[in-house]
Symmetry: C2
Subunit: 264 residues, 2 copies
């Protein structure tokens, strides 16, 4: 591997949660951020300050001297940005789980995907070395470059094609977004009783830890597993003033029963 | 508080996950287990061995010399056990979140509830000192006794009446059982792609940790929040061979949108 294959300078397009954390992780590994480009001035300016980079909102003023262009914006915005972006053969990647690499095809020579599988929130520190990074590239040379870059910040670097990555992203929606919504519903139930949500923290952490140590289907407990119809009816009754949540309760309970009956 | 108010000896009725962990935690604090009573011989014998206690399956052979009788069995079985249990004024508790204390009324003189809010699995160690214990008792003297006992093993001891405890238990079903089912569904999606579930471990842990540091509704991210209809349609399409999971996907996505629109 020649030194010239290593990424040394980056232009970062986007200043949201993923851009923020990825930028900080790469900066710590001495990657040079030339510029942050984005739609709204405050987050762009703030992230550029942290990364010691220039910034602009104007695609015509893009710095053309970087080795790599990272597009880290919402799914909808990626296609818009590709239309506005003119490069002379430099490598470009996006960071979206559910957008196929083919969005770059015919538009750029060197491209790929750099998808860090984690939930990021600005200001909430994440240990990037534990974050799986799923890579895809248009050819083996670019893959090698991305593998080296990802290896700087993560211990878990994988190749994954777009189709498989989309499925992984779907699984992540269940494991993260929908899980978090379960926490929100629990919080809502407790709020009505003036019980502080923190009482559930040890349970939430333990439930997550258990899933990392055993098959989650085998870890399942609770009324639906034990086919405790009486308790389920009582709990449904407690939700009678909240039909949407009651529907979720019923559908999930039924699905747990069917799942355990058919798959274990 | 007189020394005579302290619990020194216990008969444990039940040998399931909660009985197992509660027994072990109390045993470590020098509580003397006289007997384990249960329905099936193997787990009863095994737990009795660990607790250095006698054991029996026969309620007529119950040891009548204990200070406290802990009924730690499935909800359905509690009422059956109460019918078979004859005490002379000794204190009796159950450990169920969703069963009211009133099941004891008219049957015993001294009774209460000792509800540890955690998910327990035999063989999987739990740090009991972090487990909230929700107490209820028929009078103040018995409450004092239970507070002291709970204080031996947990840093978080709360008084909670039966109605409130039932709501807490309902919240726990969402935060634990339904959350775990989200992990199961994610696992199922990954299995079809031959992706190892462990790739989601960092995400699962981080999602749980985030919920302990901020309001889960504010932590929410993902396609439903960003009203990303296009991505949602694509993800629903990926689930077209699994209508039950697709229905869950749709209902939860809709609920997240409505929830965030109305409550934040």
């Amino acid at each position: 591997m020649l030194m010239s294959n290593l990424i040394q300078s980056v232009v970062l397009i986007g200043a949201g949660n993923v851009a923020w954390h990825l930028g900080m992780a790469l900066k710590k590994k001495k990657i040079d951020f030339l510029q942050v480009l984005g739609r709204t001035i405050e987050p762009v300016k703030e992230l550029a300050g942290i990364l010691n980079a220039d910034y602009t909102l104007d695609f015509e003023k893009i710095n053309v001297n970087a080795d790599l262009y990272i597009i880290s914006v919402s799914d909808d915005a990626i296609v818009e940005i590709i239309k506005k972006l003119y490069l002379q053969g430099q490598l470009v990647v996006h960071t979206a789980g559910s957008i196929p690499m083919s969005v770059f095809k015919g538009r750029f020579e060197n491209y790929g995907v750099f998808y860090p599988l984690q939930t990021f929130t600005k200001g909430h520190e994440v240990h990037f070395d534990k974050v799986p990074v799923c890579l895809e590239a248009n050819d083996q040379d670019n893959m090698n470059i991305l593998v080296q870059l990802a290896g700087l910040i993560s211990q878990t670097v994988l190749f994954m094609n777009s189709e498989k990555r989309a499925k992984l992203h779907l699984a992540a929606v269940f494991a993260c977004n929908f899980t978090n919504h379960m926490y929100s519903i629990a919080n809502r139930i407790l709020k009505k009783e003036q019980i502080d949500f923190s009482i559930l923290h040890p349970l939430i952490i333990e439930t997550a830890l258990k899933a990392t140590g055993m098959n989650p289907a085998e870890a399942q407990t609770g009324p639906a597993v034990r086919k405790n119809r009486m308790r389920m009816d009582k709990q449904m009754k407690m939700l009678e003033n909240d039909p949407a949540i009651r529907e979720i309760y019923e559908i999930l309970s039924d699905n747990i029963r069917n799942y355990l009956a058919n798959e274990l």
